[in-house]
């Protein structure tokens, strides 16, 4: 029996068990977000739990983190590790030009390897939205406003950092995919000394210093405007255009009184090669890594057969649930006390009609 009990106590890595209060909070948060997304016209889509591995291989940052299996025909499959990717393929297959723009939302379990010793990751559940088929400023703004509303609904206030993949593409000359990934990694890990060394290998030292300085910027719109004004002669037109787009977004967010929710952070360049425009991540005190990531990816759907622009975000819900506001806590139960069981049943019904939770 001890052996059997020991087996019961173990769970495979990358899975978890949610107990009652946690499960209640999780479900409620998910429902509230579902309602919010629907009220913005974002309708639910479901994606398969597994699919062919080779289709997604080039988009998977760490292959070792993926659970893979072989089907009866001998094809290599993968369990869903990122809903955005699975969704891109589905949308690529089913969308037609006349459907656009399309607003979709999703929520579901994802499976990624997680070290047994590393309990902080909590990357088990993904909830998100995508606005497909709409380019430009207004679409970006819509997604950022929805992001803001998402956290207001959850009653938490993360620091939201916005950057631009477009800026990275404008700054770094074409050096092939692996070279670019390395530059992207150095910027997002803020390893600017190494970045400077690498850049000097591909461009002149003055230009290398400009790029190295530029991507260190973190601050307000006002500060970015002053900073770029001071280095303008050193910037190329595409860089200036990417920065102007960011500033325009911040200007509109300020008009909507949402300016305080966002920080401009040029070291945010997107953790996926498919990003093309704005990119953002959200961070919470006491949580080890970003709780939400998103941005514009105009080329991703094209990889799956239907070229159309897209912008969206995805939230790792389990990471933030212990910080959710009061309304997500399990409410107190009432107990219906009647003279006999029938009486108790009737009393309970009356109380339930008033919105109370009643047990017998």
């Amino acid at each position: 029996m001890t052996e059997k009990l020991n087996r019961f106590l173990q769970v495979p890595m990358g899975t978890e068990t949610i107990y009652i209060e946690d499960a209640y909070r999780h479900r409620l948060a998910n429902e509230e977000l579902g309602k919010l997304f629907t009220s913005w016209g974002y309708l639910p889509v479901e994606t398969p739990v597994f699919d062919f591995f080779d289709i997604y291989q080039e988009f998977i940052p760490v292959e070792k983190d993926i659970y893979r299996l072989i089907d009866r025909e001998g094809d290599l499959l993968m369990l869903r590790s990122d809903i955005t990717l699975f969704l891109a393929k589905q949308m690529g297959l089913s969308l037609k030009e006349t459907d656009l723009p399309v607003r979709v939302c999703y929520s579901g379990t994802i499976l990624r390897h997680q070290n047994r010793e590393d309990i902080s990751k909590n990357e088990f559940f993904q909830t998100g939205v995508e606005l497909i088929g709409k380019k430009g400023h207004n679409a970006d703004l819509e997604i950022l406003m929805l992001l803001s509303s998402t956290f207001r609904t959850l009653e938490i206030k993360p620091a939201l950092h916005i950057g631009s993949r477009e800026l990275l593409n404008a700054s770094v000359p074409d050096i092939g995919n692996s070279g670019k990934r390395e530059i992207e990694r150095l910027i997002s890990y803020r390893d600017f000394d190494e970045l400077g060394r690498r850049l000097r290998g591909i461009t002149d030292s003055k230009r290398a210093d400009t790029i190295k300085e530029l991507f260190q910027f973190t601050g307000s719109a006002e500060e970015l405007r002053n900073y770029t004004e001071s280095i303008k002669p050193a910037l190329n037109p595409k860089e200036i255009s990417a920065i102007d787009k960011l500033l325009l977004i911040m200007e509109d967010l300020a008009k909507l009184n949402l300016g305080g929710d966002f920080v401009l952070d040029l070291s945010e360049v997107g953790n996926q090669p498919y990003y093309t425009g704005i990119v953002f991540q959200g961070y919470l005190d006491g949580v080890d890594s970003a709780v939400v990531s998103g941005g514009r990816y105009d080329n991703l759907l094209g990889e799956f057969g239907f070229t159309t622009p897209s912008v969206g975000f995805s939230l790792l819900l389990r990471k933030i649930e212990n910080q959710l506001g009061k309304k997500f806590s399990l409410p107190a139960f009432d107990k219906a006390e009647g003279e006999n069981f029938i009486d108790s049943l009737q009393k309970a019904e009356k109380l339930r009609k008033k919105g109370r939770i009643v047990i017998l």
Binding site: H161, L284, V287, D288
Partner: protein, 210 residues
């Protein structure tokens, strides 16, 4: 916005050989701190830092979980942990070298099929030799690694070498220096994003010439 509140920043320091150097360095910069008898938590004089003392090899774990936002740690321990942090600065003190050593006069020969090594640094050792295409057999030890060649457990060890005195005393010598090990100030990436203003201030104090 919850970022950059007046709360002190949290910093984990490793117990042991580095502490004295870190203490001196921080004092020079006006960030003096001391620990009361057996206490493991303290504040610096300015109240900007809340400092924890943790075991060297546990330090990356505390920073990874965001319990301590900042940490000071050698690149050996950071590499071994496998966690990725932002590196804010590299210190001049506390540097050492990761070396492969064996009995005096021992030479690695070209027809050695695989390398047998005893070490505390198993991830570094396997990654280092695998990158060079050399198969390596590793015996994990937690201390007194020098004993392994002396007692015949493995012909070689991979370990940190500072003065080389322990090696000499045991009739061992360095075969090759594998990497320079430096001491870094690191930060949990999410913690940086939330507290970047205060962190930049502390880093500029630490980097200022005194």
């Amino acid at each position: 916005m919850i970022s950059d509140t007046a709360e002190p920043l949290s910093l984990a320091l490793p117990k042991g050989r580095l502490m004295e150097d870190v203490g001196k360095f921080f004092k020079q910069k006006g960030l003096d701190f001391s620990f009361d008898n057996r206490k493991l938590v303290s504040y610096d004089k300015s109240g900007n830092l809340k400092i924890f003392l943790v075991k060297n090899s546990d330090l990356p774990t505390y920073v990874n979980h965001g319990i301590a936002g900042l940490g000071i740690c050698g690149s050996d321990v950071l590499y071994e942990s496998g966690y990725k942090f932002f590196n804010l600065m590299t210190f001049d003190f506390g540097g050492t070298s990761m070396c492969i050593a064996g009995m005096k006069g021992a030479k690695r020969t070209a027809n050695e099929r695989k390398l047998s090594v005893a070490t505390k640094f198993t991830k570094f050792t396997s990654d280092y030799f695998h990158k060079q295409g050399i198969p390596v057999e590793i015996v994990k030890l937690n201390g007194s690694v020098e004993l392994a060649p002396v007692l015949g457990l493995t012909p070689y060890i991979v370990d940190l070498v500072e003065t080389g005195n322990t090696l000499k005393a045991n009739n061992l010598e360095i075969l090759e220096k594998l990497e320079d090990i430096k001491v870094h100030l690191v930060v949990n990436p999410a913690y940086y994003k939330l507290h970047y203003k205060s962190i930049k201030r502390i880093v500029s104090i630490l980097k200022a010439k005194t």
